[in-house]
Amino acid sequence: MRTRSMVSIEENPATPDATLLWYSRAIGEMLTKRKFADPTSWRFQGAIHDYDSGTDPFNDAAHASDGPPVGSIRTKFWRKCQHASWFFLPWHRMYLYYFEQIVADTIVKLGGPAGWALPFWDYNASPAARALPWAFRQPTWPGGETNYLAIAARDPAIQAGAALDLQTIEEKAALDMTLFSTPLTAPDVEFGGPAVKNHSGGSGGPPFGGVESSPHNNVHVAVGGGDGWMIDPTTAALDPIFWLHHCNIDRLWERWIRQTVPVQRVNPTVKTWTGEPFSFYDAAKKVVKLTPGKIVETTKLDYVYEGLPVATAPIAPVARVAATSRPAVRTTLLGATKAAFRVGTAAAEVAIAMPRPAGGAASLRAQAAVPAGRRVLLHLEHVDCPDRAGSYDVFIDLPTAGRGRGHPDHFAGRVSMFGPRSAARGKTGRAKSGFSFVLNITDLYRRIAGMPGWDPSKIRVAIHPVHRWSKEIKVGRVSLSLR
């Protein structure tokens, strides 16, 4: 049984961390010694996630003789990453599983130790852990050996050792979610993503699942920066830190499933989720298939996470009933913007007009008292953006426009544009409806509703670009609903 451990974050250690040193050597072997068409090559592994010859950093004269595999292989194995979907977590677990086998096998062939396990980057472990681990920032290992973990194509500040901010690595909101999935059409958000079906692939801009939105998307964008690999799904898996980041997302899934308060978390049990097959290559270059139903227990994949007890308690059968989605609850639209608007490099603020119900302001105030068990959701719908657009912070009813960072008590959440190119071209037949984000602002709404002078008929939503390099985005609609 392999144990996946926290990556070493020691600065300038006397001796290099063996796990990372051998990881670097394996990457060197996979990147420089193996042909692109080899399923165990670094480039092929990256292309499984997503690929575009236009963004491929190795698609140059130096690699002209190193062509891709035949079309049928590309069609079957490349560009298969699952996003904004309840397959996001299981697909990436399978992807990591075979990648880890390939790296471990490569290390053994290079004369290294057996049993190598992928480390995870838990950016929430400590303030020091928020910086990109030291080994990923040094161009060479002590002694001059090339360090393949360090690449230039990252955000310059992150590459220099700057810490990720707390909004980027926020994980509590996702871990607090009690269900794995939401129905396809529901304007709602749960931990693992919407239950997409078929070509509907999300019947119109399916929202990201909780853990996919934050910290997953946020970290991708923050580490990638305006020009790096991590911000674009077509190049993200070429960055060695990608695998440690996803290992942490996989670990968060394990943390989530172990929670019992207020209810025991459970994974979906329906066949449409458990039985969906995905194909990969293993370390022996054999085609293998896995389904989500076969990977929900990591021990069956022969690994555990450091610091997490092995789950042994049986899951209460009654909890399984609610595994997929919330019981039928009417979603009541409270208000919405009337037209699309743009957010440029400066902050934008829009007002959501809340129609006055019978009873006037008193009814509106009553409406502000969110009933127990129900949630107030803020939706950013059909967001169109160019590649590498960046991240945006969302605030509610800011006292003074443009001073969001000074008002964390009005902070609704951060949304990050990871993968607009993939979404726009309708990969795997997915509907091209732009991004959608759902933020659970129940507590914030209650707090704001209790503030003096609050106008219940008009909610103001401010959207602030996080990065200096953020690009203009177009938001189709911002709405508020009670679910």
């Binding site: 397959f87 079906k197 070509h199 999300g202 039928a328 037209a339």
Partner: protein
């Protein structure tokens, strides 16, 4: 279980199902359409069904209601959940009207063709099912199927909201016509034969229910319909 519990449990389940699918009323509409077609149709259909243009067009419309509307429950729900409570029913109806419009236009064309060229239309079902089987292999069809679920931001109320709901239905309906038109034309060309419609509806349900429908399933279904049409209808 107590008597009250035995009564309440299914009642609650029905209430939840209705809440989950605010467009539930399209299901009885579809059932009514199946019944109406069953009363006047034939099991195997006919290569040269008789009837006026209006009768053919009406049958085509019934076929769309029977086969296509139940597959749009998710889209109706999507539309309804993004509008205010007081216009939920209105939004659902507007979506359905918009969705049916391209199908009715396509049905008029198909009925006119079948009406005016009875000699050629003898082989129309075979041809249409063959085209449907071949079309399923094209990536372009997958893209059109995706387009049949594509959405855009809806205005929350007012005239713009009405227009948006109609537009959404029409846009999805048009994409649906392109992706499933040959199959539906084949069913119409059999004189709306029950066997063809049931197989056609099964293909639609299969493509709707699975995450990544294998083209093989659609090709197989359409291919079997083409072979069946050749054998049964070719001889009539």
């Amino acid at each position: 279980m107590s008597v009250a519990g035995a009564v309440l449990r299914p009642t609650r389940a029905i209430a939840e199902a209705l809440e989950r699918h605010p467009g539930w009323w399209v299901v009885p509409a579809a059932i009514a359409a199946w019944v109406a077609m069953g009363r006047h149709g034939r099991l195997g259909g006919s290569a040269c069904p008789e009837g006026s243009f209006a009768a053919r067009w009406a049958s085509f419309a019934l076929m769309v209601v029977a086969m296509m509307l139940p597959l749009r429950l998710d889209s109706i729900r999507w539309t309804v959940e993004r509008t205010f409570d007081w216009r939920r029913r209105r939004a659902a109806v507007e979506y359905v009207v918009g969705f049916l419009a391209p199908w009715l236009a396509a049905g008029a064309l198909a009925s006119w063709w079948l009406q005016t060229s009875p000699g050629e239309s003898r082989w129309a079902p075979v041809l249409a099912f063959d085209v449907a089987a071949a079309w399923a292999l094209f990536p372009a069809r997958e893209r059109w199927m995706g387009a049949s679920r594509r959405t855009f931001a809806l205005a929350p109320d007012g005239l713009r909201a009405d227009v948006d709901c109609l537009r959404l239905g029409a846009a999805q309906g048009l994409a649906c016509v392109v992706s499933c038109g040959p199959l539906m034309l084949g069913c119409a060309a059999t004189g709306h034969g029950a066997i063809a419609m049931v197989v056609g509806a099964s293909i639609g349900a299969y493509e709707q229910a699975t995450f990544r429908p294998r083209p093989f399933g659609t090709v197989l279904g359409c291919g079997l319909l083409a072979i069946w049409s050749t054998g049964v209808l070719g001889g009539t």
